[in-house]
Amino acid sequence: MVQEILTVGFLTAFLSAAVRLAMPLMYGGLGEMIAERAGILNIGMEGVMLSGAFFSFAGAWYFHSIPMGLLCGILGGMVVSLLHGLLSIRLAKDQSVSGLALNMLMLGVTSFLYKLMSAGQSYQQVETLPSLAIPGLSAIPVIGEAFFNRDILTYLLYVLIIAAFFFYRSTNWGLNFIAVGEHPRAAESAGIPVNRYRWIAMVLNGALGGIGGAYLVLVQLGVFTENMISGRGYIALAAVILGRYTSFGVFGAALLFGAANALQIRLQTIGVEISPYLLAMLPYVITLAAMLGAIGKNSQPEGLSKPYIKGMR
């Protein structure tokens, strides 16, 4: 069994599948990380991604264009996040309640609209984004194929991950975003408009979550199906915790979730007798263990999921 796994062919296919499966989680996770670092917990990420998936499909279908599909997906995700912002920032309501309600709402809305749009008949696929090999890098054995022979959205994610790292580490704006999430009252007295920052975080949350959902449609499947996110939004929440609220951490955690998923598929194809369902449990167990391991050096933003009302003590 070990010999079969340690072949270049197996590893290449495995890693390639892992990256592909991880990509929606990476976008969703990055969006969620930005929101959570600003102090807003968006359990509605599932709904954001579902909205992104549906509207990207609808956009790509009606305009016959992938960029338009992507744009619609981004806008669709944003609308859900902004609704969450309205409830949790403007009205200072319980963020978990709002997020769950939005998940349910979007499940209904997207299924409803899809049924209206399709009127019973099934749709053909929309065109999907092609892979573009990066010359040189894509020739590296195993890693090259998995990371550098991909679609443009994957490359965009690499840029965003690196940009987010430097943004939080070495820009004033980044520090402001952290301050808003850690201690909003202190941030406000230092002249940082807390809620304005939180609104910006929600816009980014929606855009990135929207792309995460759109990725499934525009790159992987080319079709929309009801409830197609099927829990990926919740897994993105886990990736943020496992990744300790850093962009590289989220990248790694999402890759781990993708790898666990890919491994079960690959192992089945070479006929290894281990239940894929037990393997699928692993990432969640690891996340729980990681949360226990994170005790003491708590990486969770101090002000997470606490509404901030200006001037209230």
Binding site: L87, L100, M104, L105, K115, M281
Partner: protein
């Protein structure tokens, strides 16, 4: 604001939310090219048309009542249990294992054992999150979601291995023998004994929360943990017992689904009712009797909407939209009161 105007305001909110919900539903039906009047009459016919369809409301409400009660108990203690879905699965697995594993035990005893096993296992499953919260201060929201996925995958494993029907090659358990099934109570409907159990448990939870010291303590912890602790309420113990009860109730729903409806264990057995339950508890303001009422209303909407879908092609997803809209409106009720603010009367 005085008490009187406050009550008037609440009433006004309820009326506004109901009206808006009706308007939105009518618009959605119009969007499908159907007539709202015809849809409404089909909706009503779907509910009251036959004895079986009316009984179906209670069949559908049963798991929602139990999981909703579970959520309500936990929420009132300030334990945000999103894990009703997973606890439902745990209960269904436990009940199936006992029902299939002890064939020599006579029916009634076995059924009781099934529910005890389901309750205890579901309780322990929720307890994990409670321990994480009370001991390590880790958000129960994320933990319960993780636990959901663990047990959903475990069920997938179970029905393909140790619980798989040896006579078949479909991923589901063997059929539970009639002795251990929950009996049907009304012929030519699916009205089963589990529904009675759900109502009995709802009454018990109401009694516990409203009439006993334990219930008082749970509510005190939910309202203000620090104040409760200062007044000698055992905070940790309250959260732990509330989580246990909450998980146990959701698990009983899973047990009923196995013993009364499916009569076997299979994937996707919950129909996502654990997530719906969270919203039902919220709409009911976490009151036990409110949960029963809202669950029945929700189930009635589902039954009515499925008849609308069959006859008019109006997607039954409309029900998810409605419950989502209702919760959003309840949360955002201040938005409906903008007119009040202009008069400068609004407090907070």
């Amino acid at each position: 604001m005085t008490a009187m105007t406050h009550r008037k305001q609440t009433l006004l909110d309820v009326v506004t939310i109901c009206l808006l919900t009706v308007v939105i539903s009518a618009l959605l039906i119009l969007a499908c090219g159907a007539s709202p009047v015809e849809a409404a009459s089909l909706f009503v016919k779907g509910i009251f048309g036959t004895k079986a369809s009316f009984a179906e409301i209670f069949v559908k409400a049963c798991p929602l009542i139990l999981t909703g009660l579970g959520c309500a108990v936990a929420f009132r203690t300030g334990f945000f249990n999103i894990g009703a879905e997973g606890q439902f699965y745990v209960g269904s697995i436990a009940a199936a294992m006992v029902a299939l594993g002890l064939p020599q035990v006579p029916g009634v005893v076995r059924i009781i054992l099934c529910f005890v096993a389901a309750f205890v296992c579901g309780g322990i499953w929720a307890l994990i999150a409670a321990v994480f919260k009370t001991r390590f201060n880790i958000s129960e929201i994320i933990v319960t979601i993780m636990l959901n996925y663990i047990v959903i995958n475990f069920l997938g494993y179970a029905v393909r291995s140790f619980l798989m029907d040896p006579a078949g090659n479909v991923p589901q358990s063997a059929k539970i023998d009639t002795a251990a099934q929950l009996p049907n109570l009304i012929t030519s409907t699916r009205f089963h004994a589990g529904i009675v159990l759900a109502f009995v448990l709802a009454a018990a939870v109401w009694f516990l929360m409203e009439k006993t010291t334990v219930g008082y303590e749970l509510k005190a912890v939910g309202l203000n943990q620090r104040a409760a602790a200062c007044n000698g309420v055992p905070v940790v113990r309250s959260i732990i017992s509330s989580a246990f009860l909450s998980g146990g109730l959701a698990a009983i729903a899973g047990g009923i689904e196995v013993l009364a409806i499916q009569k076997k264990l299979m994937e996707g057995i919950s129909g996502d009712c654990g997530y719906t339950a969270v919203l039902i508890a919220l709409v009911a303001f976490n009151r036990p009797l409110g949960v029963v009422l809202v669950a029945i209303l929700y189930a009635a909407m589902e039954v009515g909407a499925s008849s609308m879908q069959r006859q008019l092609g109006v997607p039954s997803a409309i029900v998810s939209i409605i419950i989502g809209v209702v919760v959003v409106l309840i949360l955002g009720k201040e938005l409906l009161r903008w007119y009040g603010k202009k008069n400068g009367k609004e407090g907070a």
